[in-house]
Amino acid sequence: MTATVTSHRPQPPAQPVTLRARRLPAYAAPVIAVVALLASAGVVYGAGIGGPVLVVVVAALLYLAGLYAAANAVEGRRAARNRTWSALIHSAFVLAVLPLASVVWTLVSKGSERLDGNFFGTSMNNIGARDANGGAYHAIVGTLEQVGIATLITVPLGVLCAIYVVEYGRGRFAFTIRFFVDVMTGIPSIVTGLFVLAFWVLVVSPWFNDGRPGFSGFAAALALSVLMLPTVVRSTEEMLRLVPAPLREGAYALGVPKWKTILRVVLPTALPGIVTGIMLAIARAAGETAPVLLVAGGGAAINFNPFENNQSSLALFVYQQAGEASKYSPARAWTAALTLVALVLILTVAAKLLARRNRLGR
């Protein structure tokens, strides 16, 4: 009896005799890469079926296959899979970064042509098709004012809304707000532009504009704030939910009222994340063309007053210059695009620095 029981006992898995394993030498991967590149170039150019892009694609596939084969032969299956997946992940990273690098390069190389004082100091007023001068001063003013006003409207509204939903909201009402904020996230920007056109420009603004509908930078700011609001609410909401409940309880246990707990403990803890969300919303709003075109109307002259008359914006300026029949306008469009990206970048960096200044240095 005992003998049968023992013989039926499952065999333990074979223990490795040594902890060391055979490894591919360090030069193996680069050598495979070079061989793959040469072979790929030979095949592609030899057969005359493509250019450098196809060479790189074929070389990458050859490299993956060669690496797997070599690793499989020397190191075994697990190591071969590990190497292949690592290579795939790295390729995915390169593929993701390539467009970004390409965009930055194109912007800088083409945008630097008109990067001069005239571009930043003048508007397009009285600039004809044969005039090499002319700049985006009016558009920069418009973007700053419109995005600034939109931010002033959106941030208090959005943050307070998120605080309500996270800290106070119970039941159906809070659920409904969350649902509609989600729906708003998907509204196309042209629709918000049309909404403000129909509601503000055509119906409300005639009341204090002698009965005539008034295009203005403020109307554009309204459209942009409709766009920004869901982003700000959602990101603030997520950040507030990340603040651990024990922090709130710790403050309550000191006899701190709820509103003060939110203001002095919860918000400061979530601040860096909230600022990031706001900056994402600002970046999105600054790049919008359609709503500005619909309700601010564009315009070539400098207009500092966002409440009266047409205003342009950088994104709209890019759109208009790109379509203009003048050999000088593409350069203006590129420089305006570069300016827009630089502006958003500067704002983002500044906001992050400000948010960090409140935190303690370690």
Binding site: R170, P244, P246, L247, R248, E249, G250, A251, Y252, A253, L254, G255, V256, P257, K260, T261, R264, V265, P268, T269, L271, N358, R359, L360, R362
Partner: protein
């Protein structure tokens, strides 16, 4: 300073779930009372209902009567923040405010309740940190973040924060469960000193700790999972650990159950 707490038929719910039922006990001023019992028996729930922290959770509510020096804690006209200022609480895991320095953490309770004068705050911070046996370790780095301290120091920081608002009662919810033995000892020593000024109620899973630090011990238990927790026995700590009158208590403290 320290005050007497009387609980009469306290029953607490989480939504439809009854967590504790008909708990009645009296805590004398300037004593340490330990609440012991198996997990889920409602010790923490009872502790949290004493300073009205239970109701912070959605759907949670308390029935019965809880008084502090004959004032009803659950009276309709009572200001919750006043209750919590009178009855401080230290939590299981140290929870210093991450955006505040050590100094700001200690005086958070005072500052957020409107105390502005720097001299008052500094005096209170030093006093509280000295009482929490933390002053010597942090006096040179009061401006550094509270989250940069070790776990035991963070917990003493939280105790300092709690006693800086000069409460009359201090509730401690397993304050040592996340700490090493040396930090635990430091906090137990602290409890001995604090007992001169405060009434202390501590929830603990560590029976040696209950035996070491407390004057009175309350044993809570549940029949089975899903039943409400009940108070089985409440007596002098020495009596509970040497000659308990209930069979269940004896089984629990000798390790035969729970």
């Amino acid at each position: 300073m320290a005050k007497r707490i009387e609980a009469t038929d306290v029953t607490a719910y989480y939504g439809g779930f009854k967590a504790i039922e008909n708990i009645s006990l009296t805590v004398e001023p300037k004593t340490v009372t330990a609440l012991i019992g198996p997990s889920g028996c409602g010790k923490s729930t009872f502790l949290r209902s004493i300073n009205r922290m239970h109701e912070v959770l959605p759907g949670a509510r308390v029935e019965g009567s809880l008084t502090i020096d004959n004032q009803d804690i659950y009276d309709r006209d009572v200001d919750v923040t006043a209750v919590r200022r009178m009855i401080g609480m230290v939590f299981q895991r140290p929870n210093p405010f991450p955006t505040m320095s050590i100094f700001e953490n200690v005086v958070a309770g005072l500052r957020l309740n409107g105390v502005r004068r720097k001299s008052i705050l500094e005096e209170a911070a030093e006093k509280a940190l000295r009482s929490a046996n933390l002053w010597d370790e942090v006096k040179d780095r009061l401006g550094k973040p509270g989250a940069g301290l070790s776990g035991g120091q963070q917990q003493r920081l939280c105790i300092a924060r709690t006693i800086a608002v000069e409460p009359q009662v201090v509730l401690m919810d397993e304050p040592c469960s996340a700490l090493d033995p040396i930090s635990t000892l430091a906090i137990e020593d602290l409890m001995f000193q604090l007992k001169d000024k405060f009434t202390i109620i501590i929830v603990t899973h560590n029976m040696q700790q209950a035996a070491r630090v407390s004057d009175r011990t309350a044993f809570f238990s549940i029949e089975k999972t899903g039943d409400p927790g009940r108070l089985i026995e409440y007596d002098n700590t020495q009596k509970i650990f040497s000659n308990p009158s209930q069979k269940k208590t004896e089984d629990y403290i000798t390790g035969r159950f729970g």
